[in-house]
Symmetry: C2
Subunit: 411 residues, 2 copies
């Protein structure tokens, strides 16, 4: 059984994680920044070292491609993720998947195998979306979800323009967006949630990626004196908001093992004074479910509850902030992941991804799949983000096995 | 039956309400400001015009006293309220009670009656507490609740010192604080709540003034990704806060006709991001009840609920911001108010005051009572504050009748 070079993989994760530290030692490699350039340069040097063809497209996505005269006519098997980071990031988010993809290809190349189709690894631009909107931009552009010109015109939080910044750092490539049409896409990623760690399972076979429904809800009641207004004569927007929060919690928790999640993460009361009944509550609702029908049912239940509040005298207004349908990953690859784990004596579980990933964009153009490894404590987007070495290596070997399985069998 | 001079009373309310308008036309007579000086000067001119002795004490409380050689040895019957205002105030809050007190004394004086004890009307300094803390300061100092030197050293929101400001505007008086020991105190005030207006009752016989319990509660949970963290693995501080809000509402509303009120007026979530489970919720609880035992029971029930949250993994910390015991007004005067209303063919109801008033401070040194008239829509501390002319006059006549009843009968 072939295996990845654990030391090389772990060493590269650490080496890339040391690039782009700010004055306080924080890891900050925002898309198309100077720090991002340093990370890209290092990654490209490893691609060349591995003997891969390097291609950069107009939105700055980097591809390392291994093809031969014999398979150059076939659609490639693409492995990918991203190497841009959030502010004060951990070293695993995205980078692990990209470097494990390179590792898998390098290992197969060294093993003397002749794949039936090209193998490629991609680092997609601006997955995090911290500096430029939207997030998952590089993979979205690659899949044709947004025009490359529009994406290049994106203005960053610092007033810069993405296209100019890519040119400045030397990563405004010449390949047309979407030039590489994958036969299949696989992404290995840390879970960024607590499930695998809590359950002690090293491998997640990701079946679905949650649909997301984001709404901003404004409830208007009547401000009144907190002392002189009897409970029966109140129209308290804060109390109404609290009822929405408990309603949503009970709705999502009711499914016990259902992967529905509901979160009210932001809240603002007006006038926000200790002795005044709130006239207004503004809060956000983040609803997620891997099943579109169930997600729609949750949205409908919330709407019905809000109608009930309106009937009680609260003025309700709802603004839709975002809506993405769930993504269903390729069932055959899910089974291959499970089988690979079994062969290596590793426990696995099927699961849904609660976070967004480049895989959901590439799924628009090709069958796609994801493998998860545990995040200790479920922590991510933090310097405390951590996955043990053994689990990083195990995940990379599962990726290697699945790629080997897919790249020698003509579908 | 004698009656107040309706036109004189209404005219003075409007005239005083025109004094202290800012550039935008807003009524702003903050304590010891230039605008307050103008209001005080006008009030003192009316006291002199009515032939009353004017006395100003060290904290700037103004007294207009009618006494004769025959009753000068008796403790006076004191009527009072305040003429300072909030920012962008209505014209009735406080001023109505002071001017109706003057009107009652002036009417009795003109009627040829010889009261058994001196009659006095007071305008207490800084009832609103907008510029200087604490509120109800002048009556608190008068009742000996805080030392006059400490009160004069109060630093305002604008950095000024109350003592210097009173000297500057000419109202740092020479009389010692508390020099006038009332036999009994009566305060006529707009309700500042919706009860009388909603029920169509012109006269409130105020039996009690609510005790107040103010607490700031901080709940700490764990911040996690809103997508990747299953409902069962969450420790959501925002959801816990919502449960406290609904618990408090149900607790207060359960008493149906009980005057308990509970309000959560402020709320802050951290990190306050749409896709992050709140790690912290900070909110205030305003609990009020006219019955001390019931107020303590509500506090205990809240504490037990918070203990339950703590048992579920939420870290709870509670900070007490304020606590005032309920005030019980003089039962004999409550009955006199009801009798006076009956005689004039006016409906009345016993009630509690949900707002704080100078009467609660003077109740520390003498039997006290309050009369309420309706506030349209319960609105106060707003230019929309309104009470109809007929109701203003009716309230003043009830005050007149009660004072006449009390000042001719030796207790």
């Amino acid at each position: 059984m072939i295996a990845v070079d654990a030391q090389r993989l772990l060493g590269r994760i650490r080496e890339l994680g040391a690039v782009g530290r700010d004055g306080e030692g924080r890891l900050v490699r925002l898309a198309a920044s100077d720090a991002d350039r340093l990370g890209r340069d290092l990654f490209v040097s490893w691609l060349r070292q591995a003997g891969l063809d390097v291609a950069v497209d107009r939105i700055g996505n980097i591809f390392g491609i291994w093809q031969s005269a014999g398979n150059a006519g076939e659609a490639p098997l693409l492995i990918g993720s991203h190497i841009d980071t959030v502010i004060d990031a951990g070293i695993y988010d995205g980078c692990y998947g990209v470097l494990a993809g390179l590792e898998a290809i390098e290992t197969l190349k060294a093993s003397g195998l002749s794949p039936s189709r090209p193998l490629a690894v991609a680092a997609f631009t601006n997955e995090e979306g911290v500096r430029f909107s939207p997030d998952m931009m590089g993979s979205l552009v690659h899949a044709g979800g947004v025009d490359v010109e529009a994406a290049l015109a994106a203005v960053g939080t610092d007033g810069s323009t993405l296209g100019q910044e890519l040119t400045r750092i030397g990563y405004a490539g010449e390949r047309e967006s979407g030039f590489l049409k994958p036969h299949l896409y696989i992404e290995l990623h840390i879970e960024q949630g607590p499930v695998l760690d809590r359950e002690g399972i090293p491998i997640g076979a990701v079946e679905t990626l949650q649909g997301i429904s984001w709404q901003r809800i404004t409830l208007d009641g009547v401000a009144n004196h907190a002392g002189t207004t009897p409970m029966s004569m109140r129209c308290d927007a804060g109390y109404a908001a609290a009822r929405v929060i408990t309603f949503l919690h009970d709705l999502a928790a009711a499914g016990s093992n259902a992967p529905t999640v509901a979160t009210v993460g932001t809240m603002r009361l007006e006038p926000n004074a200790i002795n005044v009944i709130p006239s207004r509550a503004v809060f956000t609702v983040d609803l997620r479910d891997p099943d579109e029908q169930r997600l729609q049912a949750q949205e409908a239940a919330l709407a019905a509850f809000l109608e009930q509040l309106a009937a009680e005298g609260i003025t309700v207004s709802v603004e839709r902030l975002a809506r993405f349908a769930p993504v269903v990953f390729d069932g055959r690859v899910v089974k291959l992941i499970e089988a690979a784990a079994r062969k290596r004596g590793l426990a696995s579980r099927r699961m849904t991804s609660g976070a967004g990933h480049d895989a959901q964009m590439i799924a628009r153009m090709a069958p796609s799949a994801m493998i998860f490894v545990p995040s200790v404590g479920g922590i991510s987007h933090s310097p405390h983000e951590h996955t043990g070495d053994a689990e990083l290596v195990a995940g990379a070997n599962i990726l290697l096995d699945v790629v080997a399985e897919l790249a020698v069998i003509k579908r």
